[in-house]
Symmetry: D2
Subunit: 347 residues, 4 copies
């Protein structure tokens, strides 16, 4: 941390800051400059909330230097994490495809979609059993009945099941019947739920919160890892901005930004990231081109009668076309991306 | 809902939309115009997700008309709700002041702050027992030990206790030892927690989510009310924007916007809303002047050694001065605000 | 436009709205519903500012239906515009590459970069002669001296010159010495400058404003076209959001959104769109994959001593690699994208 | 500036950074830490664009320390600037009120509004002669004909005339016929226009850009002051955010933030800051309570037929009531605010 004093700050004011630093057990490093003094701080184990110094007389600004995360970093683990789910992987050479309906509505719908997902060569089936809905009057998911359908699908198609947990006890059920625990955007900072997922042996798919900075998102992953579960997959799904032509603004730059900091795999959700079916395929292509490890896509056999998120669901044939397109791009970009860290690629 | 067709849309395309509307049991109202046709929809009980029609051929846009909330509206209950907590009120003539430290750290700190809060004439003491922290390595609150301190403060000063619940079982403890259940910004769409609070008999203080639209916030209140608990207090605490001089951007326009739609009381939190102690008092003044029913303010006897949020905590003497200032403004604005709904004030 | 009355609105209140509509020469269409009345408005030439009705008693909400633009729309011109600059095109089959330094600093720098741009097969050279800088103390460009260097480059390499105009009289100079007039993000709503560019015969590259909605951006293009210049190229360069890992958030969904509405070509600027060199190549790949007609990229022979925007400039060898990567993706996506409008691609 | 190396950075990488710093004439200060090295930079005159160092091998992050502005700071001028316009002031004891219609539409309208403004005791009349409109088809102002009306109003009521300049030659006309040059939000970074205003002897009212950080806004003021015109008044008018209940989000925290850094007066525009008449009065109250030096308010004698911005204009009687309310609040807050800098108010 660096505390910058105002140009006209008195020597006593700088001394008071120095004392305050020492008082909490840290070491101050005064650096007098031509126009003003800066005071570095060392000796901290992990980050400290230095903004408390901001109100001391003579202080102009407090600048944080140390990053608050550890386990997610390339410093800790320089090789990329490959999450294994049975014989499928996320973060390795394979482009991971997670597809399915927003919510499991009934057996016919779920099977029709699962068939299309399976035929495309995807390995993961997504489907909401419990749905977080903005309105209390909207369809909230089939609940545990949905698990019967999921269990049949898992058996019939060999697809890995990815489902969102809204509460801690949902994790128990996913552990019993599913394969990957999804934490949704609205729960990215539901710390009890993160800790519960961190005590699971199943991989966790962690969606970015609607207004989460990269740091907050990575710290949410750190929460899970701090409990012992290192199989975390990050999922960019767009953030809330002023724009109105999409439901969210898909922030694809988060993919190279994460690569530079973290060993965790990252996938892209162009369905929530745009909110409109006609945009899903172009943004899926972009997500693969930017270097994501996979995609999460909503598919519905009859989007126009879907009980939730119909506007952003692809039909099975649109989805099949999407898969052809993104595989073609992946074939072209794999040799590029796999050459090593992007920033050192060029001599 | 209104479905707007493209200028050159074929008659068959409009017919297909009309059929799709009828298929889900609603009534279409085609309105041909000079350059294009719009199709109104009626017959719906509650809002429908019309964005599904967006992908039908020939459709230019889908415009939602019906609002998805009911219980929070002035249509349902034209008089303002006054929440009563023992002999204190929020939403009535009294300016409600909720003050205290971010987190209960120890008995001395809690008592020193509670004394200042009591002396100011405030009726509510806030203090975190469990703290939602962005980093897993930050101080997470005293937990249930904190309740012993809280119980003593409640008895010693007669202050009403306001504490944030992070999990459903926290609500049990607040019901036993506290007075008002706070739902924090990060949990505004933790629907299980909202429903649990909705089944309580204690009032619920619902903070606005960091990226919540007014509608999403009011729907979160609707979740609580739909379970039977009508004593909801809304708390504006700033939203996330691109600005960097504050931690959040306090959106004071939400106060008149809520007044125009809802009967629920609304208070302002200038501490989280700014993140810097030097801004808390001016924004508290602004919050009262805009017409809020109360304030929530962080106070610490030694902000420079606070275990959390020290940068935004006021000292007891700064807090005492704030209270003097806001009461003076309240005295001036009360007759104005109480003349009736703001929009009909002027002949 | 649609005016939605409150549920309990009196018949006289609806009548007053109807009168206000007629007073400004338009036709009201009252549509009484089960719980409330909506009033449609027709008869308007172009959009009207209906928000004025918002304050009339009994009005709940005013919803705009008509879009305010005409010339940019596919309704007016269903085929995509191909902008021709000599033998180069933007919007046609060719992937348009516009590359060069942020600012022309001196002859050596400009020639070194131009050589790399030419070698890559790009047809357009960008370079700031006048620079809009946030600080008055930062390097402001070489001004007219820069034109001598530009003229030599144009002659030596046959590259088309793209330069930003900051003032109306800059357009005169670009018309004399350059090929494409660039309007920067900060001037997207400098309407005098837009009109001056609209009276030029040179193509105009219109960057999206930092906080511009799609509609505002398209209306800025409409300003240029309304003066008679139909050769407008849109350039997505990111928007301002709360995120901190990039300078701007590149909103790639604007590309399919524009395609659905407008015939104008659209390119992507991953340099300003990210602000960091290590992200430029992945986001350039994504820009081509999403379906953009071209890219605008900053290149500098010595980024570490650049007088402006060094952090986001690629070296010539990084740039050469970028071109190889995006051409490979273009080869894969061209047949896809050229099959026709994206939304009708799938049966 | 502070350059933070990665934890595992090699000594040669740090040396390369040190060399790069020296190459541009600055002094490096290596500070080795337990886990990583930071390198301070001194010797710079004004700020340097240090982000160029971000791409050097081994660099984790570049942190800027020096602020890029000078003339606007309290360091340069510790007393608050009071702008004098004839016998009226902005920034002194008087609460400055600038009121009038969005645009001058005709003589009757302008006189009716001016009469109300004059009766309220306000000293400044605002009115657009040229209007920046998002659509090229919207009313663009009366142009120079409007000046005849303005000249009559100035003479008849003794009001000071505040008008927005959209182009450099508009400044000539304002200098001849008006009193204060307004620079609008869309032109906050139109640097030619800022410089032209900086060469004027008239005060400049500088509105905050729609997506401007505090720093960018202050640097725009610095542009004007760098040309010699120190009479700059800042005007907070809201910023663009994701919220939908207002046209902009009024960021009242900018007022104390500016006070802490700058000697320039700052006023608040609740009309553009909200976009809806029913919110203007509460937010005007809040603007005065937060400590602004004045208000800018839109008034129209017939808002429902206004040619622009009718939705946010107050009627003369609503405006008169607003003035009574804000004066009452000003009376209460003046002794508070005038006690001195807010941050040193409390012992």
């Amino acid at each position: 941390m660096l505390i910058v004093m105002k140009p006209g700050a008195a020597a006593q004011e700088a001394d008071a800051v120095i004392n305050a630093i020492q008082k909490i057990g840290l070491r101050p490093h005064p650096m007098p400059g031509a126009t003003r003094t800066a005071i570095g701080i060392t000796g901290n184990q992990g980050p400290i909330d230095g903004r408390r110094f901001e109100n001391l007389p003579g202080v102009a600004e407090v600048i944080r230097v140390t990053k608050p995360y550890k386990l997610i970093t390339l410093d800790l683990r320089p090789e990329k994490t490959v999450v294994r789910v049975g014989n499928a992987t996320i973060g390795g050479n394979e482009l991971a495809i997670i597809a399915g309906p927003c919510a499991i509505e009934n057996r016919d719908q779920a099977f029709a979609v699962a068939k299309a997902v399976h035929q495309s060569g995807a390995r993961f089936f997504r489907g909401g059993v419990w749905k977080p809905r903005t309105s209390p009057y909207a369809f909230q998911g089939l609940g545990e009945k949905g698990w019967q359908i999921m269990t049949e699908i898992r058996k019939a198609f060999g697809l890995k099941i990815v489902t969102e947990a809204l509460e801690e006890h949902h994790v128990d059920l996913i552990e019993r019947h599913g394969d990957v625990i999804q934490i949704g955007a609205r729960n990215m900072q539901n710390f009890s739920l993160l800790r519960r997922a961190g005590r699971s042996r199943q991989p966790v798919l962690l969606k970015r919160g609607m207004a989460a900075t990269l740091e907050e998102w990575l710290l949410a992953a750190e929460y899970i890892m701090a409990e012992g579960n290192y199989n975390v997959i990050l999922c960019e799904r767009g953030v809330r901005t002023f724009t109105q032509h999409t439901r969210n603004t898909l922030d694809l730059a988060s993919v190279p930004a994460i690569r530079r900091i973290s060993h965790l795999p990252v996938i892209v959700d162009p369905s929530h990231g745009t909110g409109s079916a006609y945009m899903v395929t172009p943004l899926a292509r972009a997500g693969v081109a930017v270097g994501a490890d996979g995609l999460m896509v909503e598919v519905h056999n009859h989007p126009e009668v879907a009980l939730s998120d119909g506007a952003q669901a692809l039909t099975p044939s649109e989805y099949a076309q999407l898969i052809r397109e993104v595989r073609a791009i992946r074939d072209v970009t794999t040799p590029i991306v796999n050459q090593g860290p992007i920033e050192t690629k060029v001599a």
